[in-house]
Point group: C2
Chain length 680, copies 2
């Protein structure tokens, strides 16, 4: 039935309203706030606005759709169908006009802010709402009688065709504006960035340019740098790449880099130059590898801890090395990417830096908060991002707290006698038979266990080279479970443990994982020093978490999320045996993978996400571990394996630990271990 | 009499109101909208807010001021007086509190937006309202319990102490923020730029920094570049400097530079680099010469014709060489000065480019319009800025019109046989005795006339080297007045004129100004070709003015203003004899000096002036001479000296021209000259 003001219902959004007969579907979608994509602004060029009209009765919506509810397929649509093909039933929303009551379905690929659900579990769905998008504009030709600049006529067209305020145009684009307009026959595609103070034209192409715009999600860790080249429209990762942080040569951990800056005039600038050069090299490489024109890379989103963040910006981190750990700036910032040395991508690309939470809790923690969204959870969730520094978040719908704890690099294999970075040849999994006390292990790059036939051949001539972070954690936890280590962290002697792999080393014992004489390589052992290093690291981590629990007034949490690239490799059971994390049912411990990188990618693709995390970071309650008197108490109490006083009932249920005590001095105070010595 | 709400009257503004007793004078001034300067925001440091309280009865204001109307002089004022001296009767407005009815005088030096009246007539009063100013702020120290960035606390202080929205902070300043705050004991002075999208911090100094901020007013001419280092607070010119435009080697006039860009790949970029390098060299030189720390130079305002403007911005001017003369951008723009190659001044300095009026009428013409303000005049005023291209404005309160006319470089001494630029040794003034037909002249750099005793010695060994623009105009006009040249521009022979200085040169005559044989130098003569060149130039100028008068529907104008550095040297009488300008009473012809440069200086020092000229330029009616059919008619008719058909009654009254006609062919049509031949 033809009406003057036909009713229209859009699915799946359910938005509905009435529009004057003859209104295009695209225009109706705009009026009703329906998310329908368009790059060409309704000229029948881009095909982004495809929709499917319904037919027949829709009792749910209270209307019936006639055959001729939309205007007949027109020439533009026929031409498009011939050239590129239009799926059956599909129409171009900018061409089809609403003549009568109609139900219109917007397929997912026509939604601008589409929700992308990825298969890999750790890759979160990313809602895209990019800061920079392509707009096709038809610009009026210059008129001698009414002289005005080409830029002013372009802006008039943007206002007219896209409803936008005047866009700023940097010199590098302005110098290409006139040739582009003339080459494109007064039609150009511009990359338009939604700046805080209005739109900015980042690039211009003659005519219709349809290759999707991309961005770089960058996770700037103290140890490693990871880049994800991402399609801004879909949120898809096109390619990933990474490198060691070149600042490692100035200092292994954060504080040694701060010291380097303090002790060496120009030292901070050196580290700034180093990381910028590496970042730009990675950007150039990933674009080349993925075959993406660097001009299409128009956005970057960066996360990192405060020292990494400040050094990247060219700020001397000296204030971060001493109380009160003052940040130069804590808020999110949008800068020209070129100002950060990213010269290989679009020269006008914009870089978004996520906000920092506090002097020790950086944009990486903010990115984890964005990715894991504890503020949306009914469960009280503890999120730990384990790295050289641990960032810890605790929260639910009501409150979110954050702190940072100086775990040091032991979890990454540093300060461990046979420690090494996670690389082929490193032991990453360890099992110790509780009866025989004999170990078996797996190394990175090899599918076999060390006691599988053909292991030596599979590992190759380089052999087993050392033990990485997850390997040492499992080794110590397995030693504890096998009764080779007591609750205070002491390794027992061969006599105490009954294992001749326990060998004296000075006044302490070590446990031999791999006999070099047998394997033809070096001995790989877990020393008492290694265990002390792991104890210090895990105590710091647990004490930070406990401090937040105190602040929140709880003794238990509902869920634990292990974030960080390293977190992905930690076995929850072994982490709990060591008392790295509070006691929870094992199935409530989840690895979030590289949550900081995911957070960077979410912010990269969505302005709404940027505003959300900026707002959330303002609300997060910051706890500074360095000045909390209880931190030291928690730290000391957490030294035991798993803990001197906090109960671990869940752990006791699934993996009761042997009650051993190898201390022969008799003056130690680690509780049960001392009281009930039960060597096996 | 003490009151709860004493009355306060500020002079000279006359603003009045009531404030709670105890309010400081500075605070009262702010509340009542009185213009009282302050850099330190009321901390008794900067002394900018000095005021003088009145005493006794003020019948005009209806109140009587008691001795103790203000609080007694306090320690801050006493200390200031001891250290720096406070004039008798002066108080610091931030310290003195209003206790009873009072009249308070704000002396000119305490007004922020002061009106500066200069002595030299051509230097216009400049109202200052600079885009960048100094603000002293006391910033809260960082707090471990409430972590926030130093920048965020600085912004909080700016909001609290100056009522400002959050300021953006570029990386170069952010990297110096933390040391500055600590060195200044949490007090810093920031240079704050009022950007279109909010304040921007351009620089930061520890503690109280009081050296005034400066700017560069830059007039970028096709031939010469002029810089004026200006105090942003007072509008005073501290130093001036200039150089030839280095683009001259790519082409003498605008169109030859456009051709160079068209014919040579990379040619536009070459010219861009050349002018930027020269500008930056001038900026560095003027700062050194004036002993001004380049960091204090935080603003620049630039004017130039469209080709100069586009080349400076790095835009190929090719479109300006052909109809429809499309500008890449016509609106005013604020850019980082460094983007224009101004690297020697403050690295974050901002450059303001005045708007362009049309494809041939540039930011220089806009600057003239700003300086001369025809839109405020009751008289219909014709403003001509004479250079290689003439920009012409015609208007009054009701309407302002603008056009440009291609005069070519003859007025600047180019294309003239003995022509040279205005430089020592060049003839700049010429007088010819109407009886003897003998010339006398003055050269640049010498006070004597050529017939004064000692002239040759005063000129020096280099002698007279040529004739400059104003010299050739006077020479031709004097020849016309002396009957050596007829109305058609023909030079008479010796026989026709009775002067043996008229000598045959090919088939035409020339007039010898200086006999090389006698002077020991070269002959300097005015040739028939020189006169033709001047005729072409002046016809273009007059035709443009006439076109605007047509459009306005008038035959006469009320006033003529000659702008341009060259305009300052043109004798109005001689210009009228040549018919360069329409006939008006001589006392209604005024030289405005370098009005474009003055306009640049006005815009440099005042945001209000920038908004005003942007608004006015939008309203100016643009006339494109190239497509006006009547332009050609006007051009041909203006070839005669002074004109073939337009009457010049004012000229006839003060300097009746001899009615001569030297055309022996008998077929010319220059009117009276031909009909009434009266050689003398």
């Amino acid at each position: 039935m033809t009406r003057e003001m036909p009713r229209v219902v859009f699915t799946p959004s359910g938005k509905r309203g009435q529009v004057p007969a003859g209104t295009t579907v695209l225009e109706a979608a705009r009026q009703l706030g329906v998310d329908l994509d368009s790059v060409c602004g309704g000229r029948g060029i881009c095909s982004k606005c495809q929709i499917s009209p319904g037919r027949g009765a829709f009792p749910k919506h209270g209307l019936t759709v006639a055959e001729d509810a939309l205007s007949p397929v027109n020439d533009v649509e026929r031409r498009y169908d011939e050239k590129r093909g239009l799926a059956p039933g599909r129409r171009l929303g900018c061409q089809a006009r609403i003549l009568a009551d109609v139900v219109i379905d917007v397929p997912p690929e026509s939604q601008l802010h589409r929700q992308v659900v990825r298969k890999a579990a750790e890759v979160r769905a990313v809602a895209t709402d990019p800061a920079t998008r392509l707009c096709l504009v038809e610009v009026a030709e210059p008129d001698l009688h009414a002289p005005s600049g080409d830029l002013q006529r372009l802006n008039a067209a943007l206002a007219d065709q896209w409803g936008l305020p005047p866009a700023a145009c940097p010199l590098s684009v302005l110098s290409r504006l006139q040739p582009a307009l003339r080459k494109g026959g007064w039609t150009v595609t511009v990359a338009l960035h939604r700046g805080v103070s209005g739109p900015e034209i980042l690039d211009i192409w003659p005519g219709f340019f349809e290759a999707p715009l991309c961005g770089l999600a960058i996770d700037l860790g103290s140890t490693t740098i990871a880049l994800h080249l991402t399609d801004l429209g879909t949120g898809d990762v096109i390619a990933s790449s990474g490198a060691m942080n070149p600042q490692i040569r100035f200092g292994e951990d954060l504080m040694s880099r701060v010291s380097y800056a303090m002790m060496n005039p120009g030292g901070a600038a050196e580290m700034t130059a180093a990381v910028r050069a590496t970042l730009d090299g990675l950007a150039a490489g990933i674009a080349a590898e993925a075959g993406v024109d660097p001009r299409r890379i128009v956005e970057a989103a960066l996360v990192g801890n405060p020292v990494m963040h400040h050094l990247l910006l060219g700020i001397d981190p000296v204030e971060l090395g001493q109380a009160p750990f003052a940040l130069a700036t804590s808020e999110a910032a949008t800068l020209p990417a070129a100002a950060l040395g990213l010269g290989s991508i679009n020269p006008e690309a914009r870089a978004y830096l996520l906000p920092l939470i506090a002097g020790h809790v950086g944009a990486d923690a903010a990115a984890v908060a964005l990715s894991e969204a504890p503020e949306t959870s009914d469960d009280l969730t503890l999120i730990v991002d384990v790295g050289t520094n641990a960032e810890i978040l605790l929260g639910d719908r009501t409150r979110v707290l954050a702190c940072s704890s100086p775990t040091g690099p032991a979890f990454e294999g540093a300060q461990i006698s046979a420690g090494q970075r996670a690389a082929p040849g490193a032991i990453e999994r360890v099992r110790i038979d509780p009866e025989t006390k004999e170990p078996r292990f797996r190394v990175i790059g090899c599918e076999l266990w060390s006691d599988d036939p053909g292991f030596a051949a599979a590992v190759g001539p380089a052999g087993v080279t050392g033990i990485c972070g997850s390997g040492i954690i499992e080794a110590v936890a397995e030693m504890r479970m096998a009764g080779l280590v007591d609750g205070s962290g002491l390794i027992g002697s061969a006599a105490q443990t009954g294992s001749d792999r326990c060998r004296p080393e000075g006044r302490t014992q070590s446990y031999l994982l791999l006999d070099g004489a047998a394997s033809g390589g070096r001995d790989i052992a877990v020393t008492q020093g290694d265990i002390r290093a792991i104890q210090l690291a895990k105590s710091a981590l647990y004490a930070g978490a406990r401090l937040l629990m105190d602040r929140r007034g709880v003794d238990r949490v509902d869920r634990v999320v292990l974030a960080g690239a390293f977190g992905a490799h930690i076995s929850p059971l072994h982490a709990m045996v060591l008392g790295m994390i509070p006691d929870v049912p094992l199935d409530r411990v989840r690895s979030a993978g590289n949550a900081a990188g995911t957070g960077a990618r979410i912010a990269l693709c969505s302005v709404a996400a940027r505003r959300l995390i900026e707002e959330n970071v303002r609300r997060i309650e910051k706890v500074e571990t360095a000045i909390e008197p209880r931190f030291q108490d928690h730290f000391v109490a957490a030294n035991a394996l798993p803990h001197a006083s906090d109960p671990f009932p869940e752990l006791a249920r699934i993996a009761p630990l042997p009650r051993v005590d190898f201390n022969t001095g008799g003056s130690r105070g680690e509780g049960e271990g001392r009281r009930r010595r039960r060597p096996r």
